[in-house]
């Protein structure tokens, strides 16, 4: 589904309201800026690695913005922008990629699970959080992110099946960015679409233009509402594109052409929404520069935080393996 076309025109009614669109634009601008900043930090050797969501910001922002405070977000390594949009300090969010610690934030503070690297393994966790909430009578919905490649893992299957049988309030949100590192979607699945993957579990699947933040917001909001209303898990596939290489360590020229990438420049989620809001006179130059400034401030604070570079504490290695370190770990820690 598309709500706002690449030319910025609304192709259907039922757009999110103006405030939501403006909030989304702020989110997009910030997310893009953070992506760019992180990339720069990699080049400067301040981050070890960064899997960028450049081009996928509409998905990142919408996934966070449709949630209530009591809801949970389960991100992958690529979803730092969504984590930041949810409220986590980007510096803390980048701990993993900087190499300080695996998870640098308190998952309970903003109800954001740690970035998950082993593909699809976060999905059963998301189901568990949702099911526990249901048992406790809490109105929590869980937004579980996954890539196109991740859908091939057994854990994707098991999670969707458990969610459907348990009627767990989870929204499985697939960012289909056409590649799993170098492997194109056509080698990943022969299904007509990833949204079709819901059928075998009795889960409703929706497809949405992943570069149209209005559409992503609308479809995800609907999915969240339905999950919260007790209709069980929902599946949403957003079609988008990874504009940069998989990470800075990857060489995307080995598996895709510049032309292919260029075609997606025109579908940029930010340009599109800006056009739309300008056409409707909701966005002015001064509002836009305010937004950019806000993004700039976040980026600067992130840069400063990362550059501050406080050495991680070696004794942490031994302190958290168990609630109480074993005598062996105490000995090893003393020796290290």
């Amino acid at each position: 589904m598309t709500l706002i076309g690449v030319d910025g025109r609304a192709v259907r009614d039922a757009l999110p309201d103006d405030a939501a669109l403006m909030r989304a634009l702020q989110g997009l601008i910030t997310a893009r800026r953070l992506n760019e900043q992180a990339y720069a930090l990699v080049r400067q050797g301040r981050l070890a690695v960064y899997p960028s969501s450049h081009g996928q910001e509409a998905c990142q922002v919408a996934a966070a913005q449709v949630l209530d405070d009591g809801d949970w977000l389960f991100p992958t390594y690529r979803d730092t922008a969504a984590i930041a949009e949810r409220g986590v300090d980007p510096v803390e969010a980048l701990s993993l990629l900087k190499g300080d610690w695996h998870c640098g934030y308190d998952p309970y503070e903003h109800k954001v699970a740690p970035h998950t690297t082993p593909l699809a393994t976060q999905l059963p966790h998301a189901v568990g959080v949702a099911h526990a909430a249901r048992l406790k009578g809490e109105p929590t919905v869980v937004m579980a992110l996954c890539g196109d490649g991740g859908t091939s893992e057994g854990d994707f299957h098991e999670a969707l099946n458990f969610a459907a049988v348990l009627k767990a309030p989870v929204v499985f949100f697939l960012q289909n960015n056409e590649y799993a590192i170098s492997v194109p979607l056509s080698r990943q699945t022969a299904a007509p679409s990833l949204a079709h993957k819901g059928i075998g579990y009795g889960i409703k699947g929706e497809r949405v233009d992943g570069n149209d933040v209005a559409a992503v917001l609308a479809v995800l909001k609907d999915a969240v509402d339905r999950a919260r209303a007790g209709e069980g898990p929902q599946l949403v596939e957003a079609h988008t594109y990874r504009m940069q290489a998989h990470t800075n360590a990857d060489d995307a020229t080995r598996y895709r052409t510049d032309d292919e990438v260029a075609a997606w420049v025109d579908r940029d989620p930010i340009v599109r929404l800006e056009k739309h809001l300008r056409d409707r006179d909701l966005l002015t130059d001064s509002l836009l520069s305010e937004m950019r400034e806000a993004a700039e401030k976040k980026a600067a604070s992130m840069r400063d935080g990362i550059n501050r570079d406080i050495a991680p504490n070696p004794s942490d290695l031994f302190a958290y393996v168990y609630a109480t370190p074993t005598t062996q770990l105490q000995e090893q820690g003393a020796q290290a």
């Binding site: 695996h102 998952p107 740690p114 998301a126 568990g128 999670a159 458990f162 049988v165 168990y322 074993t326």
Partner: protein
């Protein structure tokens, strides 16, 4: 109020689950066939009837999903106790166990703890076909972040399971299948008792050599000691109970007291828990040892078919042969 009752290990485990569920509403039990059927070994018998479907339920047939969902539930305030139907059927959950269950606390510097128990009916000696008799403790014991325990008596089964459920750390709870029907007078206070996780126990005193065992091998060690006694040799038996954390103090004190040791374990010996015991005790007690520590273990072969399992499993004869081998003439 403390009562004493003669219970099999299976019954003791069932009682521990019931008492834990009654004491703490956040304890939930799930897995394959644990609901109305009560589990293929009936360890969860009656729990759905007593506590309702929300507290004890059957899941789809998918072990990675079971463990992964338990991780999420533990993140959200529950204390899941999940059952893997047999040892080898926990392998599909290996990634969840190693990459998440074991690492979540460390990953989040203690912010997220996973108070969950993975129950695994394990090891052999019951004539089970392929994949139903694996001794898989080494896989878990080698993985930092997991507690790994294996009771050898009904009393310990009760106490260890209560303690495992109450623990803030994830526990891989290995239930020796062949001991499910072994009986004993069990003291039931309804409350968790003094800590057994991390504490080995000397099951039998002896002066000539120390047998170190855990889980299904403890009765074998005790029987060997009994037979040796008749032959005039006094063997001490240590029951680890807890593989991780490991009780160096008790084990090393025991071995130093006799100067000789044999480790008895069903699992294949190579790169196993028994290797670890031999290595660490030697490191710590080298100058007290009159002979190298011997290991009596399963061979380095896949678990045999039922008709041949007796060849693989440590038995009294093999234990006593190993004891004989401890170079008595040297001392």
């Amino acid at each position: 109020m403390t009562v004493h009752e003669k219970l099999s290990m299976g019954q003791a485990l069932n009682r521990a689950l019931r008492d834990a569920m009654a004491a703490d509403p956040s304890v939930v039990v799930f897995g394959e066939d644990v609901g109305p059927l009560g589990g293929v070994f009936r360890i969860t018998d009656g729990l759905t009837a007593e506590f309702g479907e929300d507290r004890c339920f059957d899941t789809p047939l998918a072990e990675s999903g079971i463990v992964g969902v338990a991780v999420g539930m533990a993140m959200n305030g529950m204390r899941p106790v999940v059952e893997m139907q047999f040892d080898a059927f926990a392998y599909p959950a290996f990634e969840q166990i190693v990459s998440h269950v074991a690492k979540m606390r460390n990953r989040t510097r203690g912010k997220v703890s996973l108070p969950m128990v993975i129950r695994v009916p394990y090891a052999g000696g019951i004539g089970g076909v392929e994949h139903h008799c694996d001794s898989s403790e080494a896989y878990y014991a080698h993985t930092p972040g997991l507690h790994v325990v294996a009771p050898a008596t009904p009393s310990d089964a009760y106490d260890l399971l209560r303690e495992a459920i109450a623990s803030p750390d994830p526990v891989v709870f290995l239930e020796p299948k062949k001991l499910y029907w072994s009986k004993e007078e069990v003291e039931l206070s309804g409350r968790p008792r003094a800590s057994a996780i991390g504490r080995a126990v000397v099951r039998r005193e002896g002066t000539d050599a120390t047998l170190i065992a855990y889980g299904p091998s403890v009765p074998v060690a005790l029987e060997a000691a009994e037979v040796a006694d008749r032959e005039g040799r006094s063997l001490q038996v240590v029951d680890l109970r807890s593989i991780v954390p490991f009780d160096d103090e008790t084990v090393c004190a025991a071995v130093r007291s006799t100067g000789r040791a044999v480790v008895v374990a069903e699992a294949s010996g190579f790169a196993s828990v028994s290797s670890e015991i031999a290595a660490r005790v030697t490191e710590r007690c080298f100058h007290s040892l009159a002979a190298p520590i011997r290991r009596v273990t399963g061979y380095d072969i896949p678990y045999p078919p039922p008709k041949l399992e007796h060849i693989h499993l440590p038995n009294v004869e093999r234990v006593l042969e190993a004891v004989d081998d401890l170079q008595w003439e040297d001392s």
